[in-house]
Each structure stands twice: as structure tokens, then as C-alpha cells.
């Protein structure tokens, strides 16, 4: 009983598959039009436009993954692999981005002596060349 039901739903799925694929293609093309149209409108800051474009792209990617890549009928393991890889891409992007926006401009280590030069009297300036030989002088001790 359950065997026959299974087979008939399977055959149904196969028979309807081309229609579903065509509908998905149509939706993808419409979403592409919307992406292009939305890019021509300026929504507040440029950031809003990027978010809209990426949201539509993610909807399109989800449609491709679910129907063209068969994830909707597949074992859950394949979906898990895809979701996990995107999750870690998010971790990668998120940590790189927070690092980038929260740090001060990177300066070479040697420039650390500069602030006292600016803040202090002009007499502090000779101290910089003076400090430089002090490092090689320390090395013979090793």
C-alpha cells in the first residue's frame, strides 16, 4: 500500500517537474528584472541598495538550490552542508568586517614614537634618531 503511494507520488513529481522548473526559471528572470530596476532607484544611503540587491540575490539562490539542485526532495544532509558553508562564510565576512571598522588605521610599529614628537617640545625630535641606534646597541648582549 505505502509502496504504491510512494511510487505514484514519485511519478507525479516526475511528470510535474518540467512545469515546476519552468515556473522557477520565470520567477528567476522576473527577480533579475527587479534587481536591475531597484538598482536604478536610490534608496537613502547606498547601503540600503546593497541590502536589497543581496536579499533578492539570496531569494534567487534559494530557488536555484531548492528546485534546480533538488534540495527540496533530497536528504537533509546535502542542505546541511550548503547551509553550514554559508554560515561559515558569514562568520568569515562578519569578523573581517567588524575588525576592519573597529580598528584605528594601521600604522607601522616604528611610527609609535611619533605622537610624543607632535605633543612634546621640538627637543623631543632628536630623541627619535637617538632611539633608533639604541635597538642595535642592545643586540650584542645576546
Amino acid at each position: 500500500m505505502s509502496e504504491t503511494t510512494h511510487t505514484s507520488t514519485h511519478d507525479n513529481h516526475d511528470a510535474n517537474a518540467p512545469k515546476i522548473y519552468a515556473a522557477v526559471l520565470g520567477t528567476l528572470l522576473i527577480l533579475t528584472f527587479i534587481t536591475v530596476a531597484a538598482s536604478k532607484i536610490q534608496f537613502g544611503s547606498g547601503m540600503v541598495n546593497v541590502v536589497i540587491a543581496l536579499t533578492i540575490a539570496t531569494i534567487k539562490a534559494t530557488l536555484v538550490a531548492l528546485f534546480f539542485m533538488h534540495l527540496i526532495h533530497d536528504k537533509a544532509m546535502n542542505s546541511i552542508i550548503l547551509v553550514v558553508s554559508f554560515t561559515f562564510l558569514g562568520v568569515f565576512l562578519g569578523f573581517c568586517y567588524t575588525d576592519q571598522v573597529t580598528r584605528d588605521d594601521l600604522k607601522p610599529l616604528g611610527l609609535k614614537v611619533k605622537p610624543p614628537v607632535v605633543a612634546g617640545a621640538p627637543s623631543a625630535a632628536p630623541a627619535v634618531p637617538g632611539a633608533a641606534p639604541a635597538v642595535p646597541a642592545a643586540e650584542p648582549h645576546h
Binding site: 533579475t32 536555484v64 534546480f68 571598522v101
Partner: protein, 224 residues
Amino acid sequence: MSDSVTAVKEHSHQHHDSNLQHHFATYEQQMDAGKIGMWLFLATEILLFGGLFVGFGLMQAKYPEAFVQAHHHLDKNLGFLNTVVLLVSSFTMVMAVHCAKTEQRRKVLVYLLITLVCAAIFLCVKYFEYEHKFHEGLLPGKFYSHVGDTVPHQFVFFSFYFMMTGLHGLHILGGMGAITWIFFRAKRGDFNHDYYTPIDLVGLYWHLVDLIWIYLFPLLYLIS
């Protein structure tokens, strides 16, 4: 000698088909194993492109004006055309998989051919886009030689543009090779209702290449 040959024959006869590897119990199990392998490979592909996407995002945050200026050199219409071509090729690819599963052998070949033609159109359009940029000196890094820029650092955009679309183009070429391979296997009559794993897996790869372009198109061509 002849005993072992008979033994092998009997062994394969037990399975009724040489397409089922002896270490799998059923076709379903064999296909599931193949699919998991392909998905793991696709995960590494996502991370490979991910590095470029992250770098692109960081540099765009750093030089927003340069990126907006630089993207005006790209032809939105050609980018749009290529998006449509790739989406259609994804559709014909999934139809080829469907026809292989339902044993419509002629249609498999037709759909695979259309997919190949779409891939070729994509690369031709890309060739004309690249040629235009080479001509204008819109090249990556130190090769950038475009004159009359009002905003500096536009070479950064083109470094990412060429690395991302170039890597994607190489994937299209690889996909064309894979599709050609399964085209000849399908022509030879290798596939049937139980065994069409190679077409299915090449399809998965092809859809991922399409999926990456879905993100590349708005990020590169439609910045505002």
C-alpha cells in the same frame, strides 16, 4: 582462468547492472553517497569564492566612491544578458537531468547541447567585455592605465573584477568540459532510470556556477 571469468560474470549478473559498484547495496545508496561528495566539493567552492567576496566587501567599504566610479565602466546590459543566459542554461541543465531520469534520451542530448551553447554565449560576451576593458586600460593592480580618472584607487575595483569574473569564467570552462563528457556518455546510452548520477552531479556543479553569478552580477555591475 575461465573459472574466474565466469565468477566475475555471475557476480555482475547478480547485480543485473555493472553501473552499481559492488560496495553499494542499492542505486539509491550509491547516488546519495555521490551527492554528498559533490556537495562537500561545492562547499569548498563557496569558500574559495567567499574569500574574494569578503575582500571585495572590505575594499568597497574602504573606497566606496572609487568602486561606484569604477563600476560605471561596466556594461549593465551585457551583465544582464549574461545573467539571463546563465539562468536559462541552468534550466536546460535541470531538464537534461530530468530527461535522463525519465529515459528520454534524445531530449537529454538536446538540452545538454543548449546548455553548452548558453555557456559559449556567456564566454563570448565576457570576451567582448574584457576586450573593451583591456583597450581602455581598465586593468588590475599595477597594470591599470586608464586616464582621466577623477577618483583614485579605481584599480582596486578592477583587481577584484578580473579575479572574480576570471575565476568564474574558468569554472564555466570546466563546466563545459564536464557537460561535453556527459554528452558523449549520454549519447553512448550509459544512463537510465536507475543510473544517471554523473548528469545529476555535473548539474549540481553547473547550478553552483550559476548561483555564484547571481551574487556577482549585482555586486559588480549594480553598485550605487
